[in-house]
Symmetry: C2
Subunit: 199 residues, 2 copies
């Protein structure tokens, strides 16, 4: 008495792979797509492929961009003496929404996590050191999440940078401990920036 | 100081159009897609297009299928004398999961709703009448949701079918299994009392 439509099931499977989407929600979303005009599915499919094809890492800060150097790194009005180090491109977007930070960024694309087998070599740490060797960077703000991995990564990079004579600071605990940068409101993020302290 | 990556924003927009997905969740999902290997985005895009291209309405019951007549309508082991009328293909999937119903279905693809400008002509009601004119259908179960629109649609179709000499039934109202009397509303409790059966 089984009943299933293979192309529909394949679409449900794809939705279910998304974080936070369970089987029932995936089914609801797939049925919604089928209930819409054909140009919606086509547009969605196109947006998925285009985003993955055109968006890559900035060759300077490793943030997502569709140009070689991202608009932040190529913006002459930004303060090139400060680099804010974050875990992921999401975090750059979060800081940009505060409209209070005018320096540059460096995206690690992960955190040091021995449990998950992620060591310093898998992150863009060498690239950060390379950036510091050249231009006049005066301060590096460690803006990783206030979690165990975030703290450990901040400490590790802090220790690497100290001998280079650059000031290394850490976001203030304006962010609730155990929380996530992505969900912090603008004011909290701004306070965290203001209250940053030296590592 | 604005910062946005156009292809990424377009993907966020597409996710945000899905029901129950807000801006922040849409961003999280889009960033997730970008963090995955390229074949994920390609596979997802393909599943979207393929589902919309290959899945269409069954020419008999109007349920979703990728063949001309759906597997349920073409299954010779199913009871052809009973038709269960539902609002949407989702409801067919729900009944099939019970593994207790062995008749056929008819999907209306909506409910009569004057407020939303949906009249009987926009639903597959004529097609239901056409099915009854031919083969030996003995019973039609009105299985629309117990909402105002669902009730009105069931009443409307019931009145159309009565003169054809076919038995028209309605799903039982009652307390959900595993539910609690304390939280049942008065109307549901009253209906549960009315529909009581001998143990």
């Amino acid at each position: 008495m089984g009943y299933s439509v293979a192309p529909l099931e394949r679409l449900v499977d794809q939705f279910e792979r998304l974080p936070g989407i369970g089987r029932k929600t995936a089914q609801r979303l797939a049925y919604y797509v089928l209930s819409q005009p054909a140009d919606y599915a086509a547009g969605f499919a196109n947006a998925l492929k285009e985003a993955k094809e055109k968006v890559h890492n900035c060759s300077v800060c490793y943030n997502f961009t569709d140009s070689d150097v991202c608009p932040i790194c190529s913006d002459v009005k930004r303060d090139r003496s400060t680099i804010c180090v974050v875990e992921s491109p999401k975090d750059v977007a979060a800081f940009e929404r505060t409209r209070e930070y005018n320096g540059l960024y460096h995206v690690l694309h992960g955190l040091i996590s021995p449990i998950d087998g992620v060591g310093p070599d898998q992150l863009y740490i060498k690239e950060l050191l390379h950036r510091l060797s050249g231009d006049g960077v005066k301060e590096v703000i460690m803006a990783t999440n206030p979690t165990t991995e975030g703290e450990a990564t901040a400490m590790y990079i802090g220790r690497l940078l100290k001998p280079l004579g650059v000031k290394v600071t850490r976001l203030a605990y304006g962010i609730p401990v155990g929380g996530n940068l992505e969900f912090a409101d603008e004011v909290t993020l701004y306070r965290a920036l203001q209250g940053r302290s030296e590592l």
